[in-house]
Symmetry: C2
Subunit: 434 residues, 2 copies
């Protein structure tokens, strides 16, 4: 077994990792300051420290629709359930859903989520309150008109400076719901203000074919010609990315990433999912995510990373592909890049944010522990998460949330749940016809 290590923190950062019982290197002394005594020591004896997980693509408040849209084609999922249900969104319902989502993620060792949804200011409040880190993209369709888009962009600007744990992205919904003109304008704002763009594109091969038929261009070609890729984008799903799209994406590999949510591709029968191997060969960072719980049913990133490894072995027809180390690299460093924070998240190293998940691997389903990496990919459960720190702050201690009042969060969600799935009001926020 590896030697036990002490992780030293100061403020929100990891400052040193040294064998237990040894002294860390002296921190650089600033003139006029006196060294501060440690405020807390967390006993992690017997626990495994890993970088806090990153949910690279989700719609957190959709936990309110968990289990309410099952066994449906992607068309019916959108048109018969989700978009008609989203007529019911209010700021309060979004906040309640986001609080529940933050509770679920923190208890499962997720320390950062990359979100795309409506009323993102409410999601920010839930994230700040719970102690989690978030990148938030306020969602918009072209159908909301210029004023709606202006409002969404203004929310991104507000969120970008709101709190140290909150970053913000521009959130056009998708290439099939936002016009080229609006994408171009989004890209201009992004470049001018140093913002990133998070959107859905090429979700299925059928979408890609429809785009070619209607616009003479693949979704990736549209992102290229509108300047979205040049500005820097996180592309959700990309299951319909074609071989001809890869050289385009490769030109922007330093500022573009793809988020993959493998459980969703199986559940919605979306074919082979994100072309992981081809994107990796093109040097595109790939983050692992859950998508919303209205389709994924959980926000459990352990489940996602396991399914990534399993589905890659299946698709490549090679049990040696996507080995443990590569799976864990995608779940950590690559997901940090997908979250737009490649240098501050995704690893336990001095100088990075102290986003740390401590796992208790002592339960029978992880024992005996021949290989902790195998446990992380193939046997660990979210319930093995014991303690979680975000930016150096303890947000889960001994499997309990420290900042959110869980019974209150659950009661609020339960009380409002029926309002979200009510289809009696009629109407829809959008129609899926890519």
């Amino acid at each position: 077994m590896a030697t036990a290590q002490d992780i030293h923190l100061a403020d929100s950062l990891i400052t040193a990792i040294v064998p237990t019982g040894t002294k860390p290197p002296e921190p650089p002394q600033t003139a006029g300051t006196t060294p501060v005594a440690p405020v807390e020591a967390i006993d992690g004896t017997g626990l495994l420290a890993v970088p806090g997980l990153i949910n690279s693509h989700t719609h957190s408040p959709m936990v309110m629709m968990r289990g309410a849209a099952e066994d449906l084609s992607i068309d019916d999922w959108f048109n018969q359930r989700i978009w008609p249900m989203e007529v019911n969104l209010t700021p309060e319902r979004v906040r309640v859903g986001a609080r529940l989502a933050c509770a679920e993620m923190l208890l499962a060792g997720v320390t950062t989520f990359v979100d795309h949804y409506f009323h993102a200011d409410q999601i920010a409040q839930a994230a700040i309150e719970s102690g989690i880190r978030a990148d938030l993209a306020p969602t918009y369709f072209s159908s909301v008109g210029p004023e709606g888009i202006d409002a969404a962009i203004a929310t991104t600007r507000d969120l970008a400076t709101l709190h140290p744990r909150i970053t913000a992205s521009l959130g056009p919904h998708a290439t099939y719901t936002v016009s080229d003109d609006d994408l171009r304008r989004t890209a201009d704002v992004a470049r001018a203000e140093g913002l990133r763009i998070h959107l859905h594109a090429a979700e299925t091969e059928a979408q890609t074919q429809a785009s070619v038929d209607k616009h003479g261009a693949t979704p990736i070609e549209i992102l290229d010609r509108t300047g979205v890729l040049d500005a820097g984008a996180l592309i959700a799903h990309g299951c319909g990315i074609r071989a001809t799209d890869l050289p385009i994406l490769q030109r922007y590999a330093d500022r573009t990433a793809v988020a993959t949510c493998p459980k969703v591709y199986l559940k919605l029968a979306m074919g082979n999912g994100t072309p992981i191997k081809q994107l990796q060969e093109a040097g595109i960072p790939i983050g692992i995510g859950t998508d919303g719980a209205a389709v994924h049913n959980t926000l459990d990133v352990w489940e996602s990373l396991r399914l990534l490894a399993l589905t890659q072995k299946h698709q490549q027809n090679n049990a040696e592909s996507m080995p443990l180390s590569e799976t864990l690299r995608l779940a950590t460093r690559a997901s940090a890049a997908a979250a737009g924070q490649p240098h501050s998240l995704g690893a336990l190293e001095p100088g990075r944010q102290a986003d740390i998940t401590l796992l208790d691997l002592s339960a029978p389903h992880n024992q005996p522990l021949h290989d902790p990496r195998a446990a992380l990919v193939y046997s660990v459960r979210a319930s093995d998460v014991h303690t979680v720190l975000v930016a150096g702050e303890v947000v889960v201690r001994n499997r309990q949330l420290t900042k959110l009042n869980l019974p209150e969060v659950l009661a609020e969600a339960s009380a409002l749940a029926h309002t979200l799935v009510d289809l009696s009001n009629g109407g829809t926020i959008q129609h899926y016809a890519p």
Copy 2:
């Protein structure tokens, strides 16, 4: 929400299920007996009662090799790791592994496991001690010779009458490791003594093709011509079952079942897995299992049933296929049939065994609870299992084992773990060359 129900038990059986607060029907009075006062009431308020899960195919002691054979082709998995490791098996090591496996399964709500392994008498002791129900098949290859086979068959006979919770099957390993003559003899014993046969067959299409090339018959045709199907068989995996095999299997649908372990087929890149839809159309019961933890890494049947639903939607390219209700039917009634106990397990009904798992669905990842069936298939975790009864006896209470001493089980397993994976002794118990 459904009305709360009381489940009444007597001895090992469910006697009545009635709305909470109502009186159950009077049990038939036997002359000379007096009604017995209930010995215990279990408060299940707020918990969901489901039939105890059935692990339809596993090799329980292989938990001792968990995580020790990762990212390997099926050939290397057998020839470089597992069969060389199994040189190290001893009765004690098997017992220790089986105890750990029983602990893992009970805590995850599994009340029956259908096992295939060496030193099955040791596994029986672990099962009896832990309170779980098991069907045990002592494994043999033709390479052990007539005396070895006699010994395995004798163990089956002994186990068949050992304990009310233990049933036993004959355990030839596979069509590629047991000769036609030995299969024929096994089938004769099975028919003469009313025993069932549990074996591996047609695990991959490559095995099927190899069988045709070497023997002029598919593995299923071999099972037919040797009388194994006529005697009644549980076939593990069957991923290489061909369309021409289906009419053969259909003739024995009343006494033949297939166990499917979808996580394994993804992980070992075994193609499309068990042909579920075709077998269902042929009326063959399909049980859900984990296989051994040396490949599945857990004995978590929730994981298996979720992957069954997800992979079926993927393969059939239809998000509406394998809906919630059908997935749950396979995990309950069909798995009971696969375990050879279609009338006594797999449902909460008067007259059936009181094998009951009580789930606490109050944690954030299951909330709000729009549809409990969706929770069971897509969001529940083994850690949501609160209380478990087998044959009317409480074996897990408030997430704690009542009969096994868990710290002792874990310490024993940890102490012996290195002995199982030691490859320095050389040799192997078998060579994989189907």
